[in-house]
């Protein structure tokens, strides 16, 4: 689960990680009020979940950027007014952009140098690792690809946890010295605490800056949580912002389905993540384009299948639907009942190709046949993909 920068900074504050003074505002008036409490130059930052907000611009006003340095409360008011309620496009949002509903107004920082510090899971070694770089403010993937020697990696053994040497290794490894290095080492320790205590999946400060006075401060905060651990952090689960989610993905999540919207025209309804990905792959293999990834899960119920259909059909691009079920725990007859129920409730406006295999397959096929619905049965995955692609208007 993703959260906003301002929420990440509130967590950082609780753990003693220095962040600029400031507050979130939901209106231009509020932005003015926050700015009144600050002195000197200020920054107004659009709060959306996507990255690249500084370079990003408004969809309907390409000269207005998502982040702006201002020198008065009136200017803060003006920029907040320009951003709020408008879609901001960044390299991560796609061409439609994401509507700005909040801005963060905070004191500007006099930057001497920018760094990058992130923490994530090191899958290869099954432990949490720091990634740090002297190339702050840049996209870390780019730095890693182009100048891998500028990337510092440090894994933390879960048995021993973070100890002081980890902090020293990172701070001195970044070339810091004196009190600045001590401040940085302390921030690293706190960052580890944030990661472990919130069950984060990603914590990123980009940039972490050293000010002209030699202080270390987090100018940005990106925190993602492990969805599987939210059950033990209700206070963090409450930070979810549903406005930032794709409405179809949100509806799927609420029905405990796994859905990802794609650009094609063949809707997919599959049980199991691996089979769902493979179904997309085989559609592409025979010349079609999948409209979505949708995993109804191992123990799909008829109601879940109905919800899945509803979600797929909300996508106006969908020209055909491919149902691919290999029954294990999920039984073919249950899925077939769900398909029939959905077709009757939702109304089937596009051709439907169904491939059933595994547990109770004969019963499932019988239910579909007796429903008198216009369903094209398929004998295997390849047959199903070919028929779905043909039904959607043929291969490209």
């Amino acid at each position: 689960m993703k959260i906003h920068e301002y929420q990440g900074k509130e967590i950082f504050r609780r753990y003693g990680i220095p962040v600029p003074e400031g507050k979130v505002a939901q209106s231009a008036k509020e932005a003015h009020d926050v700015a009144d409490t600050l002195s000197g130059k200020m920054v107004v930052k659009a709060q959306i979940h996507a990255g690249g907000r500084g370079k990003g611009t408004l969809k309907d006003a390409p000269t207005v950027h998502g982040v702006k340095l201002v020198d008065s409360a009136d200017a803060a008011f003006a920029h907040a007014k320009a951003l709020l309620g408008h879609a901001l496009c960044t390299h991560q949002t796609g061409p439609e952009g994401q509507v700005v509903r909040r801005v963060l107004v905070e004191a500007a920082t006099e930057i001497a140098k920018e760094y990058y510090v992130g923490m994530t899971l090191d899958r290869e070694h099954s432990r949490v690792a720091f990634i740090a770089s002297t190339e702050g403010g840049m996209e870390i993937e780019k730095v890693a690809a182009e100048t891998p020697d500028k990337i510092l990696r440090l894994g933390v053994d879960p048995a021993g946890g973070f100890t002081a040497f980890h902090g020293r290794k990172l701070a001195y490894g970044l070339g810091l010295a004196g009190d600045t290095a001590k401040q940085a080492a302390k921030i690293m320790a706190s960052l580890y605490q944030v990661f472990v205590e919130t069950d984060a999946s990603l914590v990123e400060i980009n940039p972490l800056v050293v000010t002209k006075k030699g202080d270390v401060i987090a100018l940005d905060a990106k925190v993602n949580f492990d969805d599987n651990a939210l059950f033990r952090h209700p206070e963090l689960a409450a930070l979810r912002d549903v406005d930032e989610e794709d409405p179809r993905e949100r509806a799927a999540k609420d029905a405990e389905l796994s859905y990802v919207a794609l650009d094609g025209n063949i809707g997919c309804l599959v049980n199991g993540a691996g089979l769902a990905m493979s179904t997309m792959d085989i559609i592409k293999y025979v010349g079609g384009e999948p409209a979505n990834f949708l995993d109804v899960g191992g123990g799909a119920t008829a109601d879940q299948v109905t919800t899945a259909f509803t979600i797929i059909l909300k996508d106006p691009k969908v020209r055909a639907i491919l149902v691919n079920i290999f029954g294990g725990i999920a039984k073919c007859d249950v899925v077939a009942t769900g398909v029939v129920q959905a077709a009757k409730n939702v109304g089937l406006k596009v051709p439907l190709v169904v491939r059933l295999e595994g547990t109770n397959v004969e019963l499932g096929k019988k239910i579909l046949a007796e429903s008198k619905l216009a369903i094209t049965p398929a004998s295997d995955m390849l047959d199903a993909a070919n028929k779905a692609v043909a039904a959607a208007g043929g291969a490209k």
Binding site: R127, D157, P158, G274, I282, G358
Partner: protein
């Protein structure tokens, strides 16, 4: 003709009285798996279906029944604890079916398991392990399998059934099928399973099913190039998956541009592994791999 489990494996079920646990225990019993005990704290002394004794702790169950393998069906918040309890009780094969265990729980579990060298964890978030005709520990549909000489190892559940179904339809049986699970931190990886199949005299070839995310397939490819004596047929799911989106499994995500199917296919091909981009041809690809060898 198998690895990890066979007809003599004595199995206990952690979470035997829960919904998933009881449902699948019945199916495993029907398949012929020797289920000797169940564990549900507070239900010790009762019997499951009138025949399988239930214990309060894994240690008691092992002591009383001589179980050597366990299947874990307990809910995610308690699953890490159950895995460690199984390892502490001396069990050798620990199959964690549970989906949705917090990642940091698994990081700690994996580190702690290094103190229990006898314990092999399979999963979590996996369909389990089956040696067809002998022993089924997990949630896979037993009837699609057929005893034989091909080992199957996969990060997926239903896609494994798909591949096994294709093999069986071609008349090709399986020695053992291992689902290693779709989580980013798991107990047993591809290399562990390839090594087991490599050393199993009755396994003649291996089907390997990977998916996007991480570098387990690339590492397995490098290992196979150096050590594998038997042909491998491989498929990687997720060629069409977009970047940065989790595709169902917690581990199936292209993060920071890494972990794409393209990279994985390239690594597998460079290692001389037979690959197919068509998931409907996994069985045929294995068949070709076997024929080429002869």
């Amino acid at each position: 003709m198998s690895v990890l489990i066979n007809k003599d494996t004595r199995v206990l079920i952690q979470g035997i009285t829960g919904g998933a646990g009881s449902f699948h225990t019945k199916l495993m019993l029907e398949y012929g798996t020797q289920i000797v005990a169940g564990v549900t704290p507070g239900r010790g002394g009762q019997k499951f279906e009138g025949k399988v004794p239930i214990f309060d702790t894994v240690e008691q169950a092992v002591h009383a029944t001589g179980a050597t393998a366990t299947a874990i069906y307990v809910p995610p918040p308690f699953a890490a604890d159950s895995i460690l309890e199984a390892a502490d009780a001396g069990l050798k094969v620990i199959v964690a079916i549970t989906e949705g265990i917090p990642i940091l729980d698994m990081v700690r579990v994996k580190r702690t398991l290094s103190a229990y060298p006898q314990a092999r964890l399979i999963g979590p978030n996996c369909p389990g392990v089956i040696t067809p005709g002998e022993c089924k520990i997990g949630i896979m549909p037993g009837h699609i399998h057929k005893p034989g000489k091909v080992g199957v190892v996969s990060r997926s559940g239903t896609l494994t059934y798909e591949a096994v179904g294709q093999l069986t339809a071609l008349g090709i049986g399986q020695s053992t099928c291992i689902g290693i699970g779709g989580d980013p931190v798991n107990g047993t990886n591809f290399i562990d399973c390839l090594a087991l199949f490599n050393d199993d005299p009755k396994t003649e070839a291996v089907v390997m099913i990977g998916e996007i995310g991480g570098t387990a397939e690339e590492q397995a490819a490098a290992w196979a190039k150096a050590h594998m004596k038997k042909p491998i047929a491989a498929f990687v799911a997720g060629s069409t998956a977009p970047k940065g989106k989790r595709m169902g499994h917690a581990g199936a995500i292209i993060a920071g541009g890494k972990g794409t199917a393209k990279e994985k296919f390239a690594a597998l091909e460079a290692a001389g592994i037979h690959t197919t981009a068509n998931p409907a041809e996994i069985g045929v690809t294995l068949k070709k791999a076997l024929e080429n060898r002869r």
